[in-house]
């Protein structure tokens, strides 16, 4: 049984949905609040009028976040020692089935104190995607 977290399923998400992790989309509105994460210029936060201008941010999560995701994935999937899990690792290729997937998502929610809705979870193909989403959600929560 497999689905969800994008290609953890018997089907994988449309290719068009995959976003290169390093891509950063900047958009600044006249009433924007912009904050920078000094670590890798990795995070631009934008607040604008919620009902109108809302920009989707895609950018690289901190290494620390990626590492935490890797750790949660490794423990959920009980991967053999020495298995490499990186930001590029695809959940489907690690052998995660749908039950693994929901457990991983729950693990991430607990670790980062966020809630991941199913639509967002479905777009996640790689560990990096998960880390990016987590940081986005953490930020939205803090705002």
């Amino acid at each position: 049984m497999a689905h969800s977290l994008a290609a953890a399923a018997s089907f994988s998400p449309p290719a068009a949905r995959r976003r290169p992790p390093s891509q950063v989309t900047n958009a600044i509105s006249s009433r924007g609040l912009v904050s920078f994460n000094s670590q890798r210029m990795s995070f631009v936060s934008i607040r604008s009028r919620p009902s109108q201008l809302r920009f989707k941010i895609c950018c690289s999560a901190k290494k620390e976040t990626v590492d935490k995701v890797c750790m949660i994935v490794k423990s959920q999937l009980a991967l053999p020692d020495g298995t490499t899990v990186t930001g590029e690792s695809k959940f489907s290729e690690l052998g995660a089935d749908s039950l693994d997937t929901v457990e991983i998502v729950m693990g991430l929610e607990e670790e980062f104190n966020i809630t991941v809705d199913e639509t967002s979870a479905q777009d996640i193909a790689t560990v990096q995607d998960a880390a990016n989403l987590i940081e986005k959600l953490v930020l939205e929560k803090a705002a």
Binding site: H3, S10, F11, S98, V102, M106
Partner: protein
């Protein structure tokens, strides 16, 4: 019922050499090789589902595995090799070989397993791509695949959407059962599970519910977010029918996200080989008094493609729960 295909015993004689590459054109008759995939009894109606499964751990003969590999398209081979480690690679390869050989059986061996092409619906669910140039035959076949680490199953239905999910009965979750249920299932399902005091029994009921819900979501083909688990309940009714209903309070009529969570679905849940639960779900648009009263017809075969097929439904290996 055994089919001794090729009349050879494993190990006593060499397997036939792998087939020559055939043109990948759907509808082109495959010829001699596919006489060794005997046609199963046909799918009698839209309410019948056939399931073919194999056990990867039992398939270790290299020339056999090479033969299966030859059936895959180049992109399937590439995808299989992208899996992490030889075991996952082998499973991915076998999954495609199972699908192709199974589909071929339902075309009266007119279509070479290698000839099938596939596309994805807009939500990513795989479907057969039939060439629309009028030159090839088409069959209204629908399929769905499910993996566990020790078994891969392919469900086939005619003219109707199908979803299948298989899970090991003893699958241990990392998270606590009730936490998982509270996060993902409906309140009524959480209540149902919470009332079970024996933890083994509770875990089994969780797995049953899980496979039923998965089978439905896979039949629907809209992905996990298309039918969030907590928006519909699967209830095992006292007369052993499974009713699917929209979760009260979560789904109101104004919520367009629930519009297609219709109740026109038919389920079967069975124990398989005493180690697995298998849930199958098909769409059932029939109307009238018979709706729900005629159970889904299920036939199950264990297969080693081109070597041996064994009908297991109707034996102890398949125990219908509903």
């Amino acid at each position: 019922m055994h089919h001794r295909l090729l009349l050879r015993r494993r190990g006593a004689m060499p397997l036939p050499s792998p087939p020559q590459p055939a043109p990948r054109t759907p509808g082109v008759a495959g010829g001699r090789l596919f006489a060794s995939l005997p046609s199963p009894p046909p799918l009698q109606s839209r309410r019948e589902v056939h399931v073919w499964y194999l056990c990867p751990d039992e398939l270790n003969d290299h020339s056999q595995l090479d033969m299966y590999k030859e059936l895959l398209s180049p992109s399937e081979r590439k995808n299989a090799l992208a899996m992490n480690g030889p075991r996952l690679q082998k499973d991915a390869m076998l999954s495609r070989a199972l699908l192709r050989t199974t589909l071929s059986r339902y075309t009266d061996a007119k279509i070479d397993p290698r000839s099938f092409e596939f596309k994805k619906n807009k939500f990513g669910k795989p479907e057969i791509l039939w060439q629309s140039d009028g030159s090839s035959m088409e069959w209204p076949l629908h399929f769905n695949i499910s993996h566990t680490s020790s078994l891969i199953a392919c469900g086939i239905a005619m003219d109707t959407l199908i979803g299948i999910d298989v899970e090991e009965k003893k699958r241990k979750t990392v998270k606590n059962i009730l936490s998982l249920a509270r996060r993902y299932f409906t309140p009524s399902e959480v209540d149902y599970l919470a009332k079970i005091s024996d933890s083994d029994a509770q875990q089994k009921e969780f797995i049953k519910l899980w496979t039923l819900k998965e089978a439905y979501v896979k039949a629907l083909g809209r992905g996990f977010s298309g039918a969030p688990f907590n928006r519909f309940s699967n209830q095992l009714e006292t007369n052993n029918r499974i009713q699917i209903s929209k979760a009260a309070k979560v789904c109101n009529d104004s919520d367009s996200g629930c519009d297609y969570l219709s109740e026109n679905w038919r389920f079967a849940l069975a124990g398989l080989n005493s180690s697995y639960y298998m849930a199958v779900c098909i769409e059932d648009n029939s109307r009238g008094s018979e709706n729900g009263s005629v159970p889904l017809g299920l036939k199950v075969w264990k297969t080693i493609p081109f070597i041996e097929d064994t009908l297991v439904s109707g034996t102890d290996a398949v125990k219908l729960i509903t």
